[in-house]
């Protein structure tokens, strides 16, 4: 196999990696906010359930969670699993897992907000929803951006775990080529790909940080 073909095959895997990455962010970022609200809720049951959810999601391997999400429709509900469900299960497991981490990042950001911002908003007559979305959340986003960058970069590398459900993302592709051609070159190439991907992620996040640096 020549170098060009290898890169082409890795490229196909890269597309899957990118899909997992973007879809996970798309679902886990908002879901994290919902879980964060539950975690900070005054309702005891809601708060406890959210706490347990976060604890389990952070406390067990993502690889195991992928397997559980994939097989539970069959073992729990007796639904026959189709091949197409594999990719869905990957996205589902990733989104559920990352949402737990994002929820805690959001909570940290929200709790770091000075009480004065809430009080000023209250006296000015903003209702709770307006206070959160107009006053608090924009400032929280700025505060948590560095932590979100960290998590996002970890996600890029975590996408390789999709191999447990035989979804051929970039790392799986690299391993397959490496095994067939008995060379570690594809793995090294994959490493370069991951690195470049993360370089782009970091550059984008830095751009966002800069965009929000107009205030302190």
């Amino acid at each position: 196999m020549d170098f060009g073909m290898m890169v082409a095959q890795l490229g196909e895997g890269m597309v899957v990696t990118a899909e997992i990455f973007f879809l996970t962010l798309l679902f886990s970022l908002p879901l994290g906010l919902v879980i964060c609200f539950g975690r900070m809720s005054g309702h005891f049951l809601l708060r406890t359930l959210s706490k347990i959810y976060i604890s389990v999601m952070r406390g067990t391997p993502l690889m195991l969670q992928l397997i559980v999400v994939y097989f539970s429709p069959y073992y729990v509900f007796g639904i026959k699993i189709s091949a197409a469900y594999r990719f869905t299960a990957v996205i589902l497991a990733f989104a559920l897992n990352y949402a737990a981490y994002f929820a805690e990042i959001y909570r940290g950001g929200i709790e770091s907000m000075p009480v004065g911002q809430y009080e000023a908003a209250q006296v000015l007559g903003y209702n709770r929803t307006q206070t959160f979305f107009r006053i608090i959340l924009p400032q929280v986003v700025k505060r948590i951006l560095p932590s979100v960058t960290n998590e996002t970069i970890t996600l890029v590398k975590d996408t390789s775990l999709a191999f447990v459900l035989a979804v051929v993302e970039m790392f799986t592709a690299a391993k397959q080529i490496a095994a067939k051609e008995t060379t570690i070159l594809p793995l090294m190439a994959a490493g370069v790909f991951y690195y470049l991907f993360n370089l782009a992620v970091a550059a984008f996040m830095e751009y966002l940080e800069k965009k929000m640096s107009y205030y302190r």
Binding site: E119, A120, Q122, Y126, Y215
Partner: protein, 251 residues
């Protein structure tokens, strides 16, 4: 007309009674200063009056409308929709400004009128620009709070409160976070408001200022109103504790 009426206000924090039976009423156009040592309950009184803190007992009314009253020994507040309307009758200026850092000066002043009172944007902008002009901040409207001095930030926060056209303005130690240099520019604004007969209730440590500006001064100590009266009455014939307190400021 009584703009604010507080009767038998009680407030306890963790078994510590911070306010013990405070009654206070403020007439239209009156400027009332509240002085007293720290820990005397001045700020808590203001926070209860502005509903940032729940009262444990007593009643609170604005412009004859009841916001809270006592029923069977506990304090009951009016329904949310009524409180929302009652809140419109007053504004509060905080010691440490609490401007919204992510909004420009102009947006800080016009955001609440637009989003809370549903004033058309163009009108809110005109109102905000006019206020900022009056407060000497016309050239700062596009700046962000962190780019301003403390005195300028406090003036923006006064403009922000005034933009909602409240009938009463509360000040919670408006100059305590400022250098002596910057204190003057904020006091000047409050003085101008007094000249325009704005009803104001000011918690302050600026004795000279309170004396020259107020229609009435209230001296608080240990959660009670120890003495109150016109500046002449209070400074001319202070009771023993008041004399001691004022003396500390003149020393």
């Amino acid at each position: 007309m009584k703009y604010l009426e507080i009767e038998h206000l009680k407030k306890t924090f963790d078994n510590l009674q911070v306010l013990k039976d405070i009654s206070l009423s403020v007439e239209e156009g009156e400027v009332v200063s509240i002085i007293g040592p720290s820990g005397s309950g001045k700020s808590t009184l203001l926070r209860c009056a502005t509903m940032l803190e729940r009262m444990d007992g007593g009643s609170l009314s604005y412009l004859g409308e009841r916001a809270a009253w006592e029923e069977n020994g506990t304090c009951v507040y009016a329904p949310k929709s009524e409180l929302k309307r009652i809140r419109k009758s007053y504004g509060l200026v905080f010691q440490s400004f609490h401007l919204f850092p992510h909004f420009s000066v102009l947006k800080n002043v016009m955001d609440a009128p637009v989003n809370v009172d549903h004033v058309p944007k163009a009108e809110a902008r005109l109102r905000a620009e006019k206020l900022l002009g009056q407060l000497g901040l016309a050239d700062k409207k596009d700046a962000y709070p962190h780019q301003l001095s403390g005195g300028q930030q406090q003036r923006v926060s006064i403009a922000r409160a005034l933009a909602l056209q409240p009938r009463i303005l509360f000040f919670d130690e408006p100059t305590s976070a400022l250098d002596p240099e910057l204190t003057g520019e904020v006091l000047k604004v409050i003085r101008e408001l007094a000249r325009e007969h704005m009803t104001m209730i000011i918690v302050t440590h600026e004795m000279q200022f309170a004396r020259e500006l107020s229609d009435r001064i209230i001296f608080m100590e240990d959660g009670v109103i120890r003495q109150q009266g016109t500046p002449q009455e209070l400074f001319g014939n202070p009771d023993e504790r008041v004399r001691e307190f004022i003396g500390k400021f003149q020393a």
